[in-house]
Symmetry: C2
Subunit: 342 residues, 2 copies
DNA sequence: CACCCGTATCTACTCGAGTCAACAGGCCAG
DNA sequence: CTGGCCTGTTGACTCGAGTAGATACGGGTG
C-alpha cells in the first residue's frame, strides 16, 4: 500500500492536462494558461521557460473541448455543400479551409446531396456542435432561412445573387458573367447561340439565363434554343444531345457550368462535329478541369479564393457583432480555344 | 401574487442550457440528461413528456463542447488529404463523410497541400480538438507515424499498400490494378507501352510501376519509356510531351492517375495524334472525370465507397479496443474508348 | 404497525481550461 | 523603518453536461 506513495513521474497516463504541466514545472495551473495563450497576465521569462519546457517534455496539448466550453466558441466553422465531389465545390472548400485555417478555425464538412432534408439535418447538426458559423451553399436558389434563424448561428449564404436581408450572402454577378461570355461568342460571328441551362430544386430564374438573353437582345440577335438539365457532366451531355438535335441547331453554345460544358463536349465529339469549328462552346466557373478538356474551355472564372476569404471574414466578423451584408463579386473571362480563339 | 410564480418564459437569453430546461420543466438537471440520452437511469413517462415539452419550447440543444469534455469524445473524425480539389480525394471525402454521418460522426477536413509540415500541423490540430480518429492520406508513400503515435489517436492510413504494424491502413492493390490495365493494352497488340508515373515527396517505388513492369515482363515485352511527374493534370501534360518526344515513342501509355491521363490527352491532341488510333491510353483511379474526357478513359477503378466505409469502421472499432489491421482492396478495370475498344 | 424494497428523483462532484480577486515579495520614496 | 506600489503568482470559481451516490416516496409483506 505505501509502496504506492511515490508519485511515479506521470506513468504515461494518456491525456496530459494543464495540471500535469503545472506540477512538473512547479507552478500553478493559471500560469500554464497564461503561457499557453500569452494570457491576460504577464509571466516572468524564467517561469515561462520552465513551463515551455514542461509542455515540450510532457507533450501537452490543451483540450479543445474544455477551451470551447469555457470560451463559448469552438473555433470551428461548418460548410454545407450539395456535393464535395463536384469540382467547383471542392475548389471552394479548399479555399474556405485555407481561409479558415489562417484564422485558426477548423472546418467541418457536410454534403447535402442536393437534398433539402439532408441540408437541414446538416445545419442542425452543426448548430448542436456549437460551430462559430456556417457557410451554406444551398440546394435552393432561395434557401429557407428559417433553419438558420432558429439555429441562431452566424451564417453566410453562398452562390446567392439575391440579397437576403439579415443574412450574410456572397455571390458572383451571374448575369454579367454570362453576358461577357455570350458577347465573346457573338464577337466570333455567331448568330445562333444556344443555352445549356442548369437547374436547381427551386424554380427561380438564374442570372446566367438573363445574361445570355440580354447579350443576344443587345446585339439584335434572336434567342437560340434553351435546354434545361442538371449542373453536371451527364446533364451537360444530354443537354448537348438535345441541342444538336434541335430544329435550328446553334453554332455556339453557352453552358452554365464547366461540368455541363465537359459533358456537352462529349456529345459534340460523338456527333463527329469539331470544336470550335462546327460548334463553339463557352461556359461558367473557371474550374481546373476546364483547362484540360479538349479543346480547352473558354470559361467565365469565379474568384473562388476571394469569395471564400470574404465568406470566412464575414463569419468571424459576425461573431464580433458586425452586421450582415451582401457581396457580389465580379467574374473574368478566361479565353481559351473552345470559343474559336487560336 | 401568482404573477411572480410564473417561471418567466426565458427572456431569450442566447444559449439555452440544461438548467433552463430543468427549471422550466420543474425537474432536476439530471433528469434532463436522462431524457436527452435515454440516460443511464429510467424516467417516468409523465416526467419525460414534461421535459420533452420544455426542450421543444425552449429550443434546447445540448452543448457539444461540454459533452465532449465530459465524455472525452467529440463524435468527430478528422480527414487529412493532400488536396480536396483533387477529384479523387474529393470523391473519397464525400464517401468518408457519408460513412461518418451514418454513424453520427462529423468530419473535420484538412488539406496538407502536399506539404509535410502542413500535414503534421493538421494532425496536431485535430489531436488537440479531441477528434475520435483521423484518416490520413499522407503526402508520403511511407508516412511518418511518429506524429500519429505521439498524438495517441486512433488513425487509419489511406492509400497505403504496405502494412504499417500497429496502425490501421487501407489501400488498393496498385500492382494488380496496373497489371490488368497494361495487360489490356497488350491485348490490343501494343508492344511499346510507356509509363507516366506520378511522384510523391518520398522516394519509395510505387506499386503501379511494378505492376506495369510485371505485365510487360510476363508478355516478354521490353520496357517502354518512363517519365516521372506530378500526379496532376499539368504533370500528365508535361509527361505526355516528354513521352511523345522520346526516341522510341510508345504507341500506348499507362498513366498512374486519371488526372495525369487527362493532361496527357491534351498533349497528345496538341501533337495532332488521334486517341486511341495513334496513341492508346489507360489510367488509374476511376474518377467521374475519366468518363467525360475525350475519348473517355479506360481506367482502373478504386472501390472508393467501400474503402471509406472500411476506414471509418476501423476508426470506430479502434475506439472500442479492436486491434489495428491492414486491408487491401481489389480494383476493377473500366473499359472505355481510350484503349482502343469501340 | 413496522420494516423492507423498488422506483423515481435530486444533489453534488467531475471533466480541463480561462481568468479574476487576492496575495506575496521586492523596491523605492519619504 | 514604514508605507505604498508594482510585478508575478496563486487559489478558486466558472463554463454545461454525465452520472454515482444519496434520498424521498409509496406499496407490499410480516
Amino acid at each position: 500500500m505505501n509502496s504506492m506513495t511515490t508519485p511515479a513521474v506521470q506513468a504515461s497516463r494518456g491525456p496530459v492536462t494543464r495540471k500535469d504541466v503545472a506540477r512538473y514545472a512547479g507552478v500553478s495551473t493559471a500560469v500554464v494558461s497564461y503561457v499557453v495563450n500569452g494570457g491576460p497576465k504577464k509571466v516572468a521569462p524564467a517561469t515561462e521557460a520552465k513551463v515551455q519546457d514542461a509542455i515540450r517534455v510532457l507533450g501537452y496539448r490543451p483540450n479543445a473541448a474544455a477551451r470551447a466550453l469555457k470560451l463559448g466558441s469552438s473555433e470551428t466553422l461548418g460548410l454545407v455543400v450539395p456535393d464535395i465531389s463536384n469540382p467547383f465545390f471542392a475548389l471552394f472548400s479548399h479555399a474556405v479551409e485555407d481561409a479558415a485555417a489562417a484564422l485558426g478555425y477548423a472546418l467541418v464538412l457536410g454534403n447535402s446531396d442536393g437534398n433539402l432534408a439532408k441540408e437541414r439535418r446538416n445545419i442542425r447538426n452543426l448548430a448542436a456542435r456549437q460551430v462559430d458559423g456556417v457557410l451554406l451553399a444551398s440546394v435552393l436558389f432561395e434557401p429557407d432561412l428559417e433553419v438558420l434563424e432558429t439555429a441562431e448561428i452566424p451564417s453566410v449564404l453562398l452562390n446567392q445573387e439575391r440579397d437576403a436581408p439579415g443574412f450574410n450572402s456572397i455571390g458572383v454577378d451571374l448575369a454579367a458573367g454570362a453576358r461577357i461570355a455570350v458577347e465573346h461568342l457573338i464577337g466570333h460571328g455567331h448568330t445562333n447561340i444556344g443555352l445549356a441551362m442548369g437547374t436547381n430544386v427551386s424554380g427561380a430564374t438564374d442570372g446566367r439565363e438573363v445574361g445570355w438573353r440580354e447579350a443576344l437582345q443587345e446585339a439584335g440577335l434572336p434567342e437560340g434554343p434553351i435546354v434545361y438539365s442538371a449542373f453536371t457532366r451527364p446533364g451537360g451531355y444530354t443537354a448537348g444531345q438535345r441541342l444538336l438535335a434541335s430544329v435550328n441547331r446553334p453554332t455556339a453554345i453557352f453552358a452554365t457550368s464547366d461540368m455541363q460544358a465537359i459533358g456537352l463536349l462529349r456529345a459534340v465529339h460523338e456527333a463527329g462535329l469539331s470544336v470550335p469549328g462546327q460548334m463553339a462552346v463557352a461556359s461558367f466557373d473557371g474550374s481546373a478541369e476546364s483547362e484540360y478538356s479538349w479543346p480547352p474551355l473558354t470559361t467565365v472564372e469565379q474568384p473562388v479564393a476571394a469569395m471564400a476569404e470574404a465568406a470566412v471574414a464575414a463569419l468571424v466578423g459576425a461573431s464580433r457583432g458586425e452586421k450582415p451584408r451582401h457581396r457580389i463579386f465580379p467574374t473574368t473571362l478566361h479565353v481559351r480555344q473552345s470559343c474559336g480563339c487560336p
